[in-house]
Symmetry: C2
Subunit: 338 residues, 2 copies
DNA sequence: TCAGACACTGCAAGCGATTGCAGAATGATT
DNA sequence: AATCATTCTGCAATCGCTTGCAGTGTCTGA
């Protein structure tokens, strides 16, 4: 493998000059730079990132920690982050916490510590104090995506507003009996997203002078199957049937649509359904939803980090950065039958 | 940040001994090793992977290249690989090719070359000759998962056998009019998986003495929506209607089930449906399928690499490694109506 | 008792870059 | 023409660890 000395020799300069010419090109005459670049290209030289990192302290590598990957939202965030990083010449090292407690510990106590990353992006993770402490001890920038982390710069959608937007959409259509499928308690330990969405839903109802009935809420596990079950219960009560359902995720919303069909109900004729996410299947099911843009969230996380990694970080925005969301009306919501 | 010299001082030995004690512990007396380990733990020492890599030439890092991440199969493979790597103390650096041609080029011409990975896993990727050449020029182990790469060690399920198994299941139930939804031409440029599955399907029919009717095949794009469209066409011909559909992916199979329902047909009463994958939604839809185990494929890829990275690779298996698959019968297939 | 084998341990030379410092060359200013 | 500022470039130290080689000490067998 050819190294910087080879290039230096070939171009008739010192390794110092090669290094400078190839990185930014400051303090090097244009002529020399061109010559060096030509030599490098000719020899097919690529810097050894290890040597470079060791000498400079910059890793050109970002660690991304996700609770699981096998899920549309997380994969999208990672994908967005990956693309943005690539544009900046950074690598992305992926840490997945699916492997259980042992795996989780090793990530925080071992992998993240070996000086391999310049910064860390934590996606929808509730970290223990110990874990946050360890990350801070690294003295490296850390940004979270979704799921507010105590004391950590976090990108997040305003879940309350999202829920309110969805619910208001249903109210505006004329619905007065609106059910909600949200997270169950177990989920709430990890994010408080479900609770926030529920509050937003209730707030919208109250604002419209509608009573939030306790039995119009059903917890579920954010899966299609969970949403299906919950919707079956909600819609299975002939005279008590709500005319609309706001599900806290598209997957649960899709489950609700399928449940409605199985009960012989027509969507949106008999019941309107709205979700949150703009999942890839939302279009197929004609699902109205409040889109959040996970790819863009990943990209934005990278931008924030790049800013912090710059020698003199300027525009340090506040701790919490609000991400955009948007109501997308498709065919699954309509005015209630008269 | 504390380094090896600090540990050496604290333990009263040389850095050489610390290094040896902490990596394997060969050639170090048990007593010394214990002392060193205690010092390291006490000081909270973690090796600098850059320095280590630079000195040893081992990166403890594997590059994984995927065409996109936002898809159940790929995410699962990556997840499996990640967990396996973590057990071996390796990092996983993710390269995503979604970003278009420019991004793709930069991955192969820049990122993968900077001496950061010990080996590369290419998931379901059709690589150009140039790209394969570049990877081989790295002189690093390379293994593919799915999608045979010319001259590259590849893990793959026997797509022909998978398709035959699915089709035979339908035949065994008594179906004689079996349609197939497979990949379209565009897809076939990237994998030849679709074609192989189609061949397997036809082979099974022929073996059972059933004619493979040209118009019982419909190409689709491996999405739920695509499967839906294709199935609508197949099932929309009243007197020509097949009694069973074999879809080359679960997503298309699910689309088929939804299409059948929309046409007022009952699954499996009027039409049986079987897919391939064992997608996470397969259970929910009661979909019979031929499971392939993407996580296991990711794990296996890692095992193969670890073997190749060992000083003296032994059991070098053949170029192609067959991965297991398994028929899973759920409710979507049954004998045809009489 | 002594030589040879063996098990530990330390010395020091890398690994391949980056970068502060200083010298050389060039250009500008008076 | 002399001086000073500026721009380029090279020297050499440094980043933190690994590992071949050699030295020391201990153990075994004759």
């Amino acid at each position: 493998m050819i190294n910087i000395a080879d290039v230096a020799r070939h171009a008739g300069v010192s390794t110092a000059t090669v290094s400078r010419a190839l990185s930014g090109g400051h303090h090097v005459s244009p002529a020399t730079r061109l010559r060096v670049e030509a030599s490098a290209a000719h020899l097919g030289y690529v810097v050894s990132s290890n040597a470079s990192s060791l000498a400079s302290g910059r890793m050109k590598n970002i660690g991304v920690v996700v609770p699981f990957l096998n899920h549309w939202f997380f994969a999208s965030v990672v994908e967005g982050a990956q693309q943005a990083l690539q544009r900046h010449g950074y690598d992305l090292t992926l840490y997945n916490l699916t492997g259980g407690l042992e795996a989780r510990r090793s990530v925080f106590e071992h992998f993240l510590l070996r000086q391999r990353v310049d910064a860390v992006i934590a996606v929808s993770l509730e970290l223990t104090e110990n874990e946050v402490a360890r990350l801070h001890a690294l003295n490296k920038p850390l940004v979270g995506v979704g799921g507010p982390l105590a004391g950590v710069r976090t990108l997040t959608v305003d879940d309350l507003a999202v829920a309110r937007l969805a619910t208001e959409h249903l109210i505006a259509l004329g619905h007065t009996r609106i059910a909600h499928i949200g997270g169950d308690k177990a989920f709430d330990l990890d994010f408080n997203l479900p609770t926030n969405r529920r509050f937003g839903y209730e707030a919208a109802l109250v604002a419209a002078g509608i009573e939030a009935r306790r039995d119009d809420f059903r917890p579920a596990d954010f899966t299609t199957a969970g949403g299906y079950q919950a919707a079956k219960q909600l819609l299975g009560r002939p005279h008590e049937r709500p005319t609309a359902i706001f599900a806290a995720s598209d997957e649960m919303a899709i489950g609700s649509i399928l449940a409605a069909r199985d009960l012989g109900l027509v969507v949106p004729g008999d019941v309107s359904v709205i979700g949150v996410d703009d999942h890839e299947l939302a279009t197929f099911f004609g699902l109205s939803t409040v889109a959040q843009f996970p790819q863009r969230q990943g990209e934005k996380a990278v931008e924030v980090l790049m800013e912090e990694l710059r020698p003199h970080p300027e525009s340090r925005t506040g701790l919490n950065i609000n991400m955009p969301f948007e109501l997308i009306v498709r065919g699954s919501t309509a005015r209630p039958a008269v």
